[in-house]
Symmetry: C2
Subunit: 406 residues, 2 copies
């Protein structure tokens, strides 16, 4: 895909692409950790976004969608964690508007160019006193400490900040694409309680960026699942500052594939970080399904496997219980041939033509003790393939979610 | 529904309907508990059955479906637990046939009138030496001890035997409908690893019985979920000995509604027992959704709520986290009005027109400590309603499934 042109992961952060600054602080919505963050761009960035498919949509999503649809530009994003501002009625929408207005005033940008995102508990009124009094305390910066403070400010039950940066070359000039995300619970295809912010200095129009995001999101963010619950607040937002020097990117640009490759990598790395940090998770599960008739059915089988509670607990228990994997394939609602399925974990074949292989239980258990578990399936029906990512289901998932509000 | 004619729950068991005998014993497939059982009818009973929708179908299901489809009669059912005889290829099918043949010989019935069912681990060869040498040790009886021994023989990780009996009156004569079931893991709409056997002495043709079963199964067995995993081995089998004295039952029979009522009650009680005994469960969750446009969409919303890992853990933690319930309603794929939802748990209203009610957290937590939790939703879109049943998600679910095979 990369044709010798260097596209590589760097140590950069969300502020590596030219033009972006961030900040994060503790306003008091959460007890201790940072809970208020901002992304700022020195000029209105071309924007693209995808939103939750949940029919109960949180106020900040409704507001942001309206702004971006109308103006296709974002210059600042204000994000709080600890309270989702969902199911909060008219007051909730007004609160989101207040956050938008105060951010516009503080950073001197047009109100319609401010995106708003919230994550946390559903159905409680926003503690606006805390938020309103802290927006002007946000001190923009481009250093690593600021990126980390911002990364923390968007987390809920996440255990680590999620960040990635890739560089590639367009018209011989270096550009960067970077991202920060939060995940953890309510993570499921079609946007979980997942927020991802992607910045780039590439020159690219909003409609082109939106089309690319729509395409890539299915292969990345929509291919992860933690618990099958879809949140009311999800959003992936991309901002292009256009401060790099090159001809505007379109699908006809000779270096388009470099941008796509780097962009998809950024999305994929963030998605995998989210899956790896699923609530209570100890392991990342990557399922690759090949030999499918279409990419969509391959993805559906992969997502069904990685979403199965029984597969997830078996992985947690390091139990090579392939019967649960094949049962999941069988109920995935995809037409399969029950007699032609190959299945392996890591390099250990478990099934060939749907029949058990002889394998060492010890070796399988040892493999399943790793932090990243690969499951490979070949349906032998066609040429298409897809991947999905998830995590194991553990005691800690139950502990975290049986006591989330307390 | 009952029009004054007495339909009532009795202390009866699967052998209360005239003509049926059962037995159960320990053959050695499982370490300790009974693992081999039989249901016998003194004459070929009119049969109806529904089977797993998983595309990976276990050998005994394939064989039984073939026999019942061709002959519409069952005189004996042989069931083992501990090994599912699934993904066992040609040998597995031959093993199921051997079970069928040995049962036919032992109890002197036609081989095509023997149904076979298996439940347990997937993908391991059937220990046929143990099963073959124990079928003729099964001693048929009609007493309570035999019913209990049979009930035990079909269990896997279940913690109690599931049994129910109802009586009703047809043409002035008493008839009985009774059932036994097993559930526990891999329980999900469209047949989990669920086996249910229903006996009746009513006079009713197989096609009439099949049509009734198809209708009732959606409102009962297919309205429960434990973990979203659908097994390869599920079956609900109904046998009518026709030893009662009355005009054959059809939808035109004046007492048809009595039979339907009692039949649905038997299915519903077994389904709720299965949900209550979901792996690791401490609570039965009953979700009732009203105000829907169709019964199907009401059921879909109810099943989405009761299947949500986040709702299940909140119930386990006695946390009135209604945000998770409304999020589940929103991602249920049913058209809703996000502004007209009423929600209560027990008699405590939590939401009215999608807006939070003031309620006592203490009272809600106290209510959620009960063993049966009722969640009521009104969508205010139409007149239809439906129920679904499930259980909480606990540490023990993880413990049981992280170590099932060891």
């Amino acid at each position: 895909m990369n044709d010798g042109i260097v596209t590589e992961k760097t140590d950069g952060t969300i502020v590596t692409p030219r033009g972006f600054k961030v900040a994060g602080l503790h306003s008091g919505v959460k007890r201790k950790r940072n809970d208020l963050g901002v992304i700022y761009c020195e000029r209105p960035a071309n924007a693209a976004a995808v939103y939750t498919l949940n029919k109960i949509v949180a106020a900040p999503i409704t507001l942001t969608k309206k702004s971006i649809t109308a103006h296709e530009k974002v210059q600042a994003v204000i994000i709080n964690s600890g309270n989702a501002n969902a199911c909060t009625g008219k007051q909730g929408y007004e609160d989101a508007e207040t956050m938008q207005r105060l951010t516009a005033e503080t950073f001197n940008v047009a109100q319609e160019h401010v995106a708003v995102a919230s994550t946390g508990v559903i159905g409680e009124a926003m503690p606006m006193d805390k938020i309103s009094s802290h927006i002007d305390k946000l001190t923009l910066n481009t250093d690593e400490a600021a990126a980390e403070a911002f990364g923390e400010s968007i987390l809920t039950t996440d255990t680590f900040t999620k960040s990635v940066c890739f560089e590639t070359t367009i018209d011989g000039n270096k550009i960067s694409i970077a991202g920060a995300a939060k995940g953890s619970g309510m993570i499921e295809p079609n946007m979980g309680t997942m927020l991802a912010f992607i910045t780039t200095d590439a020159v690219i129009d909003s409609p082109v960026l939106q089309a690319l995001l729509n395409e890539v999101v299915d292969r990345t963010f929509n291919s992860i699942t933690v618990d099958g619950d879809t949140s009311t607040n999800d959003m992936v937002l991309v901002m292009a500052s256009e401060l790099a020097e090159h001809e505007p990117l379109t699908t006809a640009h000779p270096d388009w594939k470099n941008f796509v490759y780097a962009f998809e990598k950024v999305c994929q790395v963030l998605a995998k970080q989210i899956a790896r940090d699923g609530e209570g998770a100890t392991k990342l599960i990557e399922v690759e399904v090949a030999g499918a008739v279409t990419e969509e059915t391959a993805r559906q089988v992969a997502k069904t496997i990685v979403g199965s509670s029984l597969v997830k607990t078996a992985v947690y228990g390091s139990d090579a219980n392939w019967g649960r994997i094949i049962a999941a394939i069988g109920y995935s609602d995809v037409e399969i041939n029950p007699d032609t399925i190959d299945l392996s974990i890591g390099s250990i074949p478990l099934l060939k033509d749907s029949r058990p292989c002889e394998f060492s239980e010890e070796a399988a258990t040892e493999y399943l003790a790793n932090e990243v578990i690969n499951i490979y399936v070949n349906l032998h029906l066609g040429e298409e393939e897809a991947k999905a990512w998830g995590c194991d289901l553990t005691y800690d998932y139950v502990r975290i979610n049986a006591s989330y509000r307390s």
